[in-house]
């Protein structure tokens, strides 16, 4: 019995655990393996409510949660090497995390075996970055919008810098050939690079035999450099020799070979034929060899290049023109340009005065601007000339607009600027209000063999419009309009007075006596009044008869003459404050207002 009781107690004790276990099991079954939970953690065994089901929108993973433990889920339990979206590699990551974060799982579980994870140097715009994967390098190229090179053979940043550096030095190759190169160039020819060292350095005498220092001078860029016996560039002339390269700006400053283009000096041959910093500005009295000009000496029987001396005229009445400066010149120097005038752009180019003609007929002309510029620490006037189209044909359009009258602003504007200095049209202030080209166009009177003129200006479209607007064409206008030939001025002022005055007097007398009334009025300075119209008598039945007496000046509306008393035969009679007025026609048929009298 006791045994039975004991057995039952044990059985009950054991069964008492059953509900607890059932509870545990049910709790466990509600947990799942979330491939990503709401905390952003991958492969965590937690409540299904905590699973983030919104990730992996492209459904690259086979599932987003599993009722099995994460250690049973392959995308969670197999460590892989992941190439992250940004190109870096992560070791032993779950496939779920790798894909969930936009990465690419590699086939190997170790990144050291994955080719995508091999690091090397990424050279971005000549700058070394190490270590980087090829993908990182490609992404850098996209991001920086720069040219990149990936070099997987590089094992350190120093090696990358050395291989790709622009540092100069002596490159010693196996056959004891030594030449000055960059580290990068030396690396390409598998040389032994001695950074910062000149090939003539006595320390290299063993590997670079027979190289003598500073034997000649040569131009490199704008500076004068000394060159060793093998033609290797050394230091700028004037730098003390110590066997090493001194090429920084601070090393070169103030040295005799340190030319400065912006200050007007550059490496070239001086008068003795030696390389030196030569002045490239153009100054009065300087000479230069003009290309294509030679002087033949009959005595010596040979030609020598002709040296041309710069004059004040060449420089446009200046003592100096700076290198690169340009200015306008004409072969006549007269305004308005007479026939045969050609515009030129003169410029100072490396100490020479260069001349560029702008063609015949002045189809294009020269315009220049002067600006202040700092050269060698001084404020100087610097001129810049350009070729522009001649807008001669625009000027004659002045007055074609709505107002039919050529105004100053319209004229200047047609010439390109309201500034009289800049406009290509000249506004004639002589009272005739005309707009003329500042640079008269040339006319091709001869034409080519086909008879077609080479100039777009013809006699008709230039000279033919002389006098437009005023109907008078004088010498000035004629000259401004173009190559219109010799202008026949006509009579002088005195001649004009002597001839014109009698003619004018006779005409005036004739006009007074035989001309219409308004001429009489004009000639009598207003004292003449038109005669009263014949039959200017108006009879109004009730108010009486009115007779026109004297014409009065009247330009206001008729209703201001007062109250209308009546009308007869087109003549109206008005009354205002005891005065009478009558409208009608005078002897010439013009509208006239008369005073009237009541009879």
């Amino acid at each position: 019995m006791n045994k039975l009781v004991s057995f039952l107690i044990i059985v009950m004790f054991l069964f008492s655990f059953i509900p607890v276990n059932v509870t545990l099991v049910s709790a466990q079954t509600s947990n799942v393996c979330c491939l990503k939970n709401l905390n952003g953690e991958y492969c965590s065994y937690t409540s299904a409510d905590n699973c983030d089901l919104t990730f992996d929108t492209e459904n690259k993973l086979p599932l987003k949660q599993s009722s099995f433990a994460c250690s049973q889920v392959s995308v969670c339990n197999e460590p892989i090497c992941c190439v992250n979206a940004e190109g870096t590699c992560s070791e032993k990551v779950s496939r779920a995390q790798c894909i969930g974060q936009g990465g690419t799982p590699t086939s190997s579980n170790s990144c050291s075996a994955a080719s995508q994870c091999q690091t090397g140097a990424c050279i971005i715009n000549g700058q070394c970055s190490f270590p980087m994967t090829q993908k990182e390098c490609e992404l850098a190229e996209e991001e920086e919008n720069a040219e990149t090179t990936f070099d997987s053979s590089i094992t350190s940043l120093e090696q990358c810098i050395e291989k790709n550096s622009l540092q100069e030095g002596c490159c010693v190759v196996q056959d004891s050939t030594c030449r000055r190169t960059t580290a990068s160039e030396c690396s390409q020819i598998s040389g032994d690079f001695r950074g910062g060292t000149l090939c003539s350095n006595p320390d290299l005498a063993g590997v670079c035999p027979g190289i003598k220092k500073e034997t000649t001078k040569q131009c490199f860029n704008e500076d004068v450099y000394l060159v060793d016996s093998k033609g290797n560039k050394e230091n700028v002339a004037g730098v003390n020799y110590d066997g090493f390269i001194h090429d920084s700006e601070s090393d070169k400053i103030g040295k005799v070979g340190n030319c400065d283009f912006s200050f007007g000096t550059v490496c070239g041959e001086d008068n003795s034929g030696q390389k030196a910093c030569i002045d490239i500005n153009c100054k009065v009295g300087d000479t230069f060899v003009a290309n294509g000009f030679v002087q033949y000496s009959f005595e010596e029987g040979s030609s020598t290049p002709e040296r041309i001396a710069i004059t004040n005229d060449d420089l446009g009445e200046r003592e100096i023109r700076y290198n690169g400066e340009s200015w306008c010149m004409t072969n006549t120097g007269v305004d308005p340009n007479p026939p045969g005038t050609t515009h030129y752009i003169y410029s100072c180019q490396l100490g020479k005065v260069e001349v560029s003609p702008l063609g015949t007929f002045r189809n294009t002309i020269c315009e220049s601007q002067i600006k202040e510029r700092v050269i060698d620490g001084n404020n100087v006037e610097y001129e810049n000339a350009v070729r522009v189209d001649n807008k001669w044909d625009q000027c004659s359009k002045c007055g074609d607009g709505k107002w039919k009258k050529c105004g100053r602003n319209e004229c200047l504007k047609l010439g390109g600027s309201l500034d009289t200095e800049k406009s290509q049209c000249v506004y004639n202030t002589g009272g005739i209000n005309e707009c003329w080209p500042k640079y008269p166009p040339g006319i091709d009177f001869i034409g080519d063999l086909t008879g077609i003129p080479n100039s777009k200006h013809t006699f008709e479209n230039t000279c033919g419009i002389c006098g437009k607007g005023s109907n008078s064409c004088d010498r000035t206008e004629c000259s401004y309009l173009g190559d219109c030939g010799n202008f026949k001025e006509g009579l002088s002022v005195t001649e004009g007075v002597l001839v014109g005055a009698p003619i004018g007097a006779i005409t005036a007398v004739g006009a007074y006596h035989f001309g219409p009334g308004y001429i009489k009025e004009a000639l009598s300075l207003g004292f003449y009044k038109a005669p009263i119209a014949a039959g200017a008598k108006v009879s109004l039945e009730k108010t009486g008869t009115f007779v026109a007496k004297e014409a009065i000046e009247w330009f206001l509306p008729q209703y201001l003459l007062g109250k209308v008393l009546g009308e007869q035969g087109g003549n109206k009679v008005y009354q205002k404050e005891g005065n009478y007025y009558m409208t009608g026609k005078d002897t010439e048929g013009n509208d006239v207002v008369y005073t009237a009298e009541k009879q």
Binding site: N39, G40, E41, Y42, C43, S44, Y45, T46, S71, C76, N77, E78, P79, C82, N84, A85, E86, T88, C89, S90, E91, K92, V93, S94, Q97, C98, G100, Q101, G102, G103, S110, C111
Partner: protein, 240 residues
């Protein structure tokens, strides 16, 4: 005479009135015009709105960066932790797991920051003071070595009268060495999951970051700082 004097007074008064009106028009003309002119908008009026939204973004990103550094690249606690002085530190290397590398990828973090900025701007950034119509929001985050760049495309249309203006580009650049630190963490994690990390060798190769390491109850704690980031990034490595 009397009549004349009166006229002079009125003339004087008239001149004074005209002078006063002229002076007011001269000095306050613009203000009067603005007051009387029907409503118009110019870009300068959107500046307060732009500043306000940008400030919301900055606050969100700064808070995120603090959380990320504190929680080892996550925003909250994760299941793997190591205990140090009673504190639980996220273990982004769990050597007891088949897949020990738990580190959040940089792209993953960028996406999280973008999502948070989007959430903050849409829900927490109170734009009720502005009469606007909101468009679709897109946020992109780029973690660079020493800065975090957040670009947001969020068309906000402000209307007044018959005119309306749209402001949609909001950019924030936070100076922070998070990217530089992240790269160091990635190196350490990759080394730890493959056996161990040589702190001395790393120090010699990477002078930009300072790595310190200490033992915890069930693993190791790493802390990475830079000259500009004194608090730095903390993470744990949990033992097997």
């Amino acid at each position: 005479m009397k009549k004349r004097a009166q006229v002079s007074v009125f003339i004087l008064l008239g001149i004074i009135v005209i002078a006063v009106i002229g002076a007011v028009a001269y000095f306050y003309g613009d203000q009067i015009q603005n007051f009387t002119r029907p409503g118009t908008l110019d870009a300068s009026r959107l500046e307060p709105l732009k500043s306000f939204v940008t400030l919301c973004m900055e606050e969100s990103v700064n808070e995120d960066l603090i959380n990320l550094k504190k929680n080892s690249g996550y925003f909250n606690k994760i299941s793997s932790t190591v205990i140090y002085s009673g504190y639980e530190i996220n273990a982004i290397v769990d050597k007891s797991s088949d897949v020990p590398n738990k580190m959040n990828s940089k792209t993953g973090i960028e996406n999280e920051i973008s999502a948070n900025v989007k959430d903050v701007v849409m829900n927490d950034c109170d734009l009720s003071d502005f009469e606007i119509v909101k468009g679709e929001i897109k946020v992109e985050t780029d973690i660079k070595d020493s800065s975090v760049v957040v670009k947001m495309d969020y068309p906000l249309v402000v209307s007044k009268g018959e005119t309306s203006l749209t402001v949609n580009d909001f950019n924030v650049i936070i100076e922070d060495d998070f990217g530089k630190i992240y790269d160091a963490v990635n190196d350490i994690v990759n080394a730890e999951v493959n056996g161990g990390f040589d702190i001395n060798e790393y120090f010699l190769e990477n002078k930009d970051v300072t790595v310190t390491r200490t033992d915890a109850d069930n693993g190791i704690i790493y802390r990475i700082v830079t000259d500009n980031e004194e608090d730095g990034f903390v993470f744990g490595v949990k033992n097997e």
